[in-house]
Each structure stands twice: as C-alpha cells, then as structure tokens.
C-alpha cells in the first residue's frame, strides 16, 4: 500500500490503478463485519437481496413469509456500545397485511433501475407486484400461471420497460410497466424457468435458464430464441476458435432412406418424397433444439459486468462460464461445491468481475472467476444461504439465508494504533504531526510575508497542545 502510494507520488503508476488495487485487496479480504449489523425483520428465510444501483444505499430483501423490507446501508440507526457495532434497522417493511400484498414466499426482488421510487417483487403466490416506495402500495399486479421464481428488469434499457418473469410455467413472460399488461410470451423451454437475466450489453437480449438444463438467449425483437447453449461445445480460454459446428445447422440429406428417417425423426406426416422439406422458421428450429447446458436445473445466471461472459450455476453442482458471443463453454472448472435442489439462487460477482461468490449450503465460496480457483470460504450462517449481493460501489457483501439473518461481509477495519495513552487514534500520529508541521510552515511563510505573526503563533500553540 505505502509502496504504491510512493509510486503514485513519483508518477510511476496511474491514479486509477492504485484505486483499483486497493478495491481488489479489500474485496479479497472480505470477512464477517464486526462493526455493522443489519437487523433483519423477517420471520423466515431470506430469498433475495438487492442494493439499488442508483445511490448504492438501499438494500431490498424478500423473505419466505411474503414480506419485503428495505434497509439503509449507509446510515446506521443506532450504535450498540456492548457489541461496538452500528445497527441498521429497516426503513420500511411490507407484508401480506398490505392490500394485494404477497401471501406466500417472495422469491425475487428488484429495484426499478432508474430510481428508488419503484420496486418489483415476484412471489410463489403467482403474482408479480410493482410497488410504490413512497406510499408502500401495490401499483400494478400481474397474474402468472404458476409460481414466480425470478423477475428481472434491464439495467440499461432506454426504449422499453419490461419485466422478464420466469415462473413454473415453461413460457417466459415479459410484462410492460408502461401499459400494465403482458406483452410477450417466449416459447422454447420445456420446464419451469428458474433464472432470468437481461443482458448488460444489449437492451434487447435476455438470458433464461430452466429446470430442463437449457440456457436460451432471446432477442425480444425476433421470434424464438437465437441461441441455445450446448455443454458439448467448448473453447479453451477466453477467445473463441473458429466455430466448427453449430447445433442449429441441420445436416444435409443425401440418400433417400435417410430422408425418410429424417422425416420420421421430426414427426413430419406429409407424404411424397419429391417435395423439398419445408424451411423451418429459425425461431421454431431453435425451439426443437434440445441442447442442454447443465445436466440438471439451471439455478442461477449472472452476466459479467462487461457483458462478454455469462456465469451459470446448475443443480449438477457445476458452475460454468460461457462466452456470450460464441455460446461456448470456456471450460473453467470451479472446484468442489454442493448445489442441489431445484431452487433458484443468487450469485454474486465483484464489480471488477474478478471474484465470484457462490452460496453453497451454509457457506459462501469465493472463486477467482477466470481460473476457477477457490480462494476463500465465508462461513457464518447457520442454515442454507440463498443469496448474496455485492455492493455496486463499495467493497461490501450482503448475504441472506434460511436462518432469517442478513449478514454483512466487509474488509477488516484498519488497524487501530494505541499509543502511550488510552485514546484510540484512527490515523497514525506521525502523519498528523507531519500534516500540522506542513501547515505551520505554510502559514509561517504566509505570515512572514504578510506580517501576521499572531495567527501563526496561535495555530502553533493549538497544534502542539493537541499533541500533548
């Protein structure tokens, strides 16, 4: 740290590099925060957490009892002198007593990306609610055919305002907040959709992951999914080789019998060998593409911050890193974890996309995203961890678990220096002395030039009395 500061002073390294280095050092040293507590008001497990991206201040949490609460992560409400920690109480809480409030578990919460005036929640009572934060009422309610597992709003969209909803139904629905109606149904999955994420690089692109193990990419301006990820297609490292075989391309037919077989395979009942096979709409062709990305349900999806890669977690206890452009698996192996059960989880990714946080049973495992090496295991919860959320601007993480707690993970506090006296000084004494002597020199020089000796003398006395 001091070497870097010195190098910065000399101009050897760039200013943004030092801030990046400090931030990444702090992220690597995350531990259970000793000075910050969030007092959870939920009576059951926490399913989803999100910090708003506009201010980076309000943390929204959705719980299994149907309640949603909001916490101020910046300003503490009380200070607990015995635990020496700042306690953050909830700003508001809404539950089933509110009109049209959720009856069953809230599976997913999301802030309106533009400001904190609205938030969206999806619940197992088959409803998606849009709440007004100021009067805490449900402004819009969408009815879904099954349990809602995941809702998502695009962070970068400027021309649409669509909530993508993944539910127990195999169809993904897009609900428009502007009109209050469901505008699109995306057909292609064959089982419940657990994970829905908008792309961070294109506002029209949507990624969905389903219980049948498929991950589909959709362009919402076109019919059907334009890409189905296949676990057999892979690439080494970060740059794709020339694609050899794409699963969409149909195989040319040569002999007559095989044509017959082909028809049989696709269930084509039309007779007559002379007619050329009907050209299938690309959207429909992809609907018949049953390639799987995982051997089990896809539990979570998360695009990296540059939008080039997509992290997916599956019920086969595998986490995979996909190249979005080529749709290939980059073959990074994140070692040893347990991810089981067909439940949606929420992964965390550090703001510089270097660390991946994966909730596995009662712990959160920290991996290097690009090498897959396990760096750390963060243990602290007493029950299954359901979600983790990184603060978008600071080096802090929040995790929600079935033990009804929200834990704060932060870098260790700076070492406190006790000198001969009992008082605790946050900045090293020598620095203060240096600072004051510097100031004094300056004022002295000024005073000498201006002839105001009284002021400098008083400052002198003040500073040294403070020192003693």
């Amino acid at each position: 740290m001091w070497f870097d500061l010195k190098a910065r002073e000399l101009g050897a390294i760039r200013p943004e590099r030092i801030s990046r280095k400090v931030a990444s050092d702090r992220l690597h040293n995350l531990e259970l925060s000793s000075s910050k507590d969030i007092l959870s008001v939920h009576d059951s497990g926490i399913n989803s957490l999100q910090v708003d991206k506009t201010e980076g201040r309000y943390l929204l949490s959705g719980a299994s009892d149907g309640s949603v609460a909001c916490y101020d992560t910046l300003h503490a409400s009380t200070f607990d002198p015995t635990a020496r920690s700042y306690q953050h109480k909830h700003v508001f809480k809404v539950d089933k007593r509110v009109r049209k409030g959720h009856k069953y578990a809230v599976s997913s919460v999301q802030w309106y990306p533009v400001d904190t005036g609205l938030f969206v929640t999806g619940s197992f009572d088959t409803h998606v609610n849009v709440w007004d934060t100021n009067n805490l009422q449900v402004e819009l309610q969408y009815d879904m055919p099954g349990r809602v597992y995941s809702v998502s709003l695009s962070q970068i969209a400027t021309s649409h305002l669509l909530i993508a909803v993944g539910s127990a139904d195999s169809m993904v629905r897009l609900c428009d907040i502007a009109t209050g109606a469901c505008t699109h149904t995306l057909v292609g999955h064959r089982d419940a959709v657990l994970a829905v994420q908008w792309s961070v690089s294109s506002e029209w692109t949507l990624y969905t992951g389903s219980c049948d193990g498929a991950i589909r990419f959709w362009d919402i301006r076109r019919a059907g999914s334009y890409k189905v990820l296949d676990q057999d297609s892979s690439q080494m490292g970060r740059r794709p080789p020339v694609p050899k075989y794409s699963p969409e391309s149909e195989w040319p037919v040569t002999s007559r019998t095989s044509k017959k077989l082909l028809k049989k395979a696709f269930g084509d009942k039309k007779s007559g060998m002379s007619t050329p096979p009907k050209r299938v709409h690309p959207g429909m062709a992809s609907a018949q593409n049953y390639a799987t990305a995982h051997n089990g349900a896809v539990k979570a999806l998360l695009p990296t911050n540059d939008g080039h890669f997509l992290v997916s977690a599956g019920a086969d206890s595998r986490v995979k890193l996909w190249d979005v452009e080529s749709g290939c698996d980059t073959l990074v192996n994140y070692e040893r974890m347990r991810l089981s059960g067909n439940r949606a989880t929420q992964l965390g990714l550090s703001p510089d996309s270097s660390l991946l946080f994966i909730p596995t049973s009662t712990a959160i495992k920290v991996y290097n995203l690009w090498t897959g090496l396990l760096l750390k295991t963060l243990g602290g919860h007493y029950d299954d961890v359901n979600c983790c959320e990184l603060h978008p601007y600071e080096q802090e993480m929040y995790s929600g678990s079935s033990d009804r707690k929200i834990l704060v993970w932060s870098p260790p506090p700076p070492p406190q220096i006790d000198e001969d006296r009992e008082e605790v000084c946050p900045v090293p004494r020598r620095l203060i002395v240096n600072f004051w002597s510097h100031m004094i020199c300056q004022t002295k020089a000024k005073g000498a030039s201006a002839g105001a000796g009284e002021f400098s003398a008083r400052l002198d006395v003040d500073s040294w009395s403070d020192e003693d």
């Binding site: 040569t254 002999s255 019998t257 077989l261 395979a265 049973s361």
Partner: protein, 343 residues
C-alpha cells in the same frame, strides 16, 4: 513434441551439451518408467498407495528444465537467452540424427499431458472384474483427484477428445457423472458387441457396426448425437435401416433419452451392472465414514477394507469421492487421513 531431436549427436553445434542433456532426460524417463513399474507391482501386492496426487508431467517438465539449467554452463549463450517457455521445445525440435536412431534407444516419444498420464495410470489400475467384458474406464471425477488444477484437466480432456485419444460417456448414475475411456478400448468394445450380435443376426445387419465405427465415432467426439445426424453419418457408408439403428441400441452402444427422443447418448455396452455397484459403493463408503466418530479414517486403513456392495475396489471409490468433493484428504504424521466433507 517429439523427442527425436534430443538424441542429436555431436555433429550438432552444441552437440556435447545436448547429448549430455539428452542423457539426463533419458535417465529421468527411465526413472519415471521404473516408478510406474514399481507402482504396478505395488498394486499387485495389494499395497494401494496410488491415490495421492500424481506428480504429473508438468513437474516432470520443471525437473527437466532444471536439468537444462544445470547444464547451462556448457550450453551456448544464445540458447540460454531463449525464454523458459520455448526452451524445451527448441531442444526437442532439433533435426533427426540417423546415427543415434540405430543405437536402439527409444526414438519415438511424445510428452503426454497430466490428464493423459492420469487416465492411462488409472486404466492400468482398473479393478479386475469377473463376469464383465467392460474394458477399463475412468470416471471424470477420478481425474480431478489426481490432477491438481481442474481447469487444466478439463481443457486437456477436451483436447484429447478432439484428438480422438479419449471418449467421454455420460453415465446415468449421477447428474455429473462421466466415464472416460481410451478410444482404442472403445473400438475393441464395439468389436465385442459385433461378435455377440453376429451369432444371432444375418451378416448384412452387423455391417452397421463397422459403419458406426468408421463414420460415427470418428466424426462425433461429444457425448451425444442427434438422430438426424446419426442417420446422415451412417448413410455415408451404406443404406441404413431403422432396424440397424435399433440393433446399435440393443447392443448398448447407444442409449435413447427419455426427455428427448431425437437424441442418443453414446454408451459403453454392458456397463449397467457396474453403474449399480458404483452408486451403491459410493453410498456404502460415505455412510461408513459418517458413522465413525469424527467422520474420518486413515487412508491406509480404509484401503484394506472391502466393500460389500461394489465390484470395484476401495481405491476406485476413494478417487471418485475425492474428485467429486464428498471426501477430502488431510495430511497427518501417520499418513493421509480421509475425512468426510461437511458441506
């Protein structure tokens, strides 16, 4: 990379140093060979200490590099300036010297990857099974137990699959279970299946096995194949009928998926009984460990035990569970300790 060049004689510019280097490499190689033989002998003697992490060819390379560095005094400066990475390659790509080829020292030699070494080693240590015609195979999780970097293992495995050295097969026993078999072994299995079918069926039906071997196996390196693609590949050889494809399914070379009727998995014939003992053996071992007081046992003690429900030996299961993360190794003064992972 070929090792021919290592044996370049004194005719080469840096000949003396090179021959010295070559001699040291060969010595290393022989040492490796001896080690492996010792390993096999150990296996025969029932002394099963093979589950530790293989030192791997990478460390082997490192050793060789050290050897190069040791000889550095004799090597010309120009060579020393070459970066570490391609140093070895340059040594290895020197032109042939026919004089030394004739001397009878091993001439053809490829530097295998860690993964390939691990697979070959485990295939050699594959337990002897009675009443089963299955050729030795390795589980993917077992590879992870002996190759330290899993990402590298995955990538090398993929490369070996592309090069047709290995084939991977999806197994029904678990969500993340894959078997890995050497392609040569798999071709022999196809031959076995063909012989078995030939006794019952006419000649023209069994031709499909040859077509399958020559056209499908070489063209498709993945674990599954779509029906249309299979038909296309088979029809390159001759007129394929539905009956012949069902013959392939009956012999166990292809498995139909319940979820998706137009896709087949490649499969190893008559592996079904082994899958049962695989899952039961896993269950038996984990329940045995969980019943112990501290959920741990010394590896040497555990390896002497026999499993009731599994045809595989203990080492096979220990490797499998180590790779899948159900158990982990802790080093103690009395040898490695196996402990059940708690998550």
């Amino acid at each position: 990379m070929r090792r021919k060049g290592l044996l370049a004689g004194p005719s080469y510019v840096t000949g003396f140093a090179l021959s010295k280097f070559a001699a040291s490499v060969i010595k290393e190689e022989k040492k490796e060979e001896r080690k492996r033989k010792r390993h096999q002998n150990n296996e025969k003697n029932g002394d099963l200490n093979g589950t530790g992490v293989i030192e791997g060819t990478e460390s082997c390379i490192a050793e060789k590099k050290r050897v190069i560095a040791g000889d550095g005094g004799a090597i010309t400066d120009g060579l020393q300036e070459i970066s570490e990475g391609n140093k070895l390659e340059i040594f290895l790509d020197v032109d042939d010297d026919p004089g030394l080829d004739a001397s009878g020292v091993e001439t053809e030699w490829c530097l295998p990857t860690d993964t390939l070494v691990a697979v070959r080693l485990m295939c050699e240590q594959f337990p002897k099974l009675d009443q089963s015609s299955v050729r030795p195979f390795v589980l993917r999780s077992q590879i992870y137990s002996s190759v330290s970097n899993r990402t590298t293992a995955d990538r090398e495995l993929e490369e070996l699959k592309q090069q047709q050295v290995l084939r991977a097969f999806k197994l029904n026993s678990g969500k993340d279970d894959f078997a890995v078999m050497l392609t040569d072994d798999y071709l022999k299995q196809i031959e076995c299946a063909k012989q078995w079918i030939r006794s019952k069926r006419p000649e023209e039906d069994t031709a499909v096995f040859d077509w399958f071997r020559t056209h499908v196996i070489s063209a498709q390196t993945g674990t599954s194949i779509r029906h249309s693609q299979l038909v296309h590949l088979l029809s390159q050889a001759g007129d394929v009928k539905d009956k012949q494809i069902s013959l392939l399914i009956n012999s166990g070379l292809l498995v139909r998926l319940l979820a998706d009727e137009s896709t087949y998995w490649f499969a190893i014939p008559s592996i079904g009984s082994l899958l049962k003992s695989l899952t039961q053996g896993r269950k038996e071992l984990t329940s045995f460990l969980s019943r112990r007081r501290y959920k741990e046992i010394i590896q040497a003690v555990l390896e002497k035990k026999r499993l009731r429900t599994s045809q595989f030996d203990m080492r096979f299961h220990i490797r499998d569970l180590l790779g899948s993360g159900h158990i982990h190794l802790v080093n103690t003064p009395v040898g490695p300790l196996i402990r059940l992972s708690n998550d």
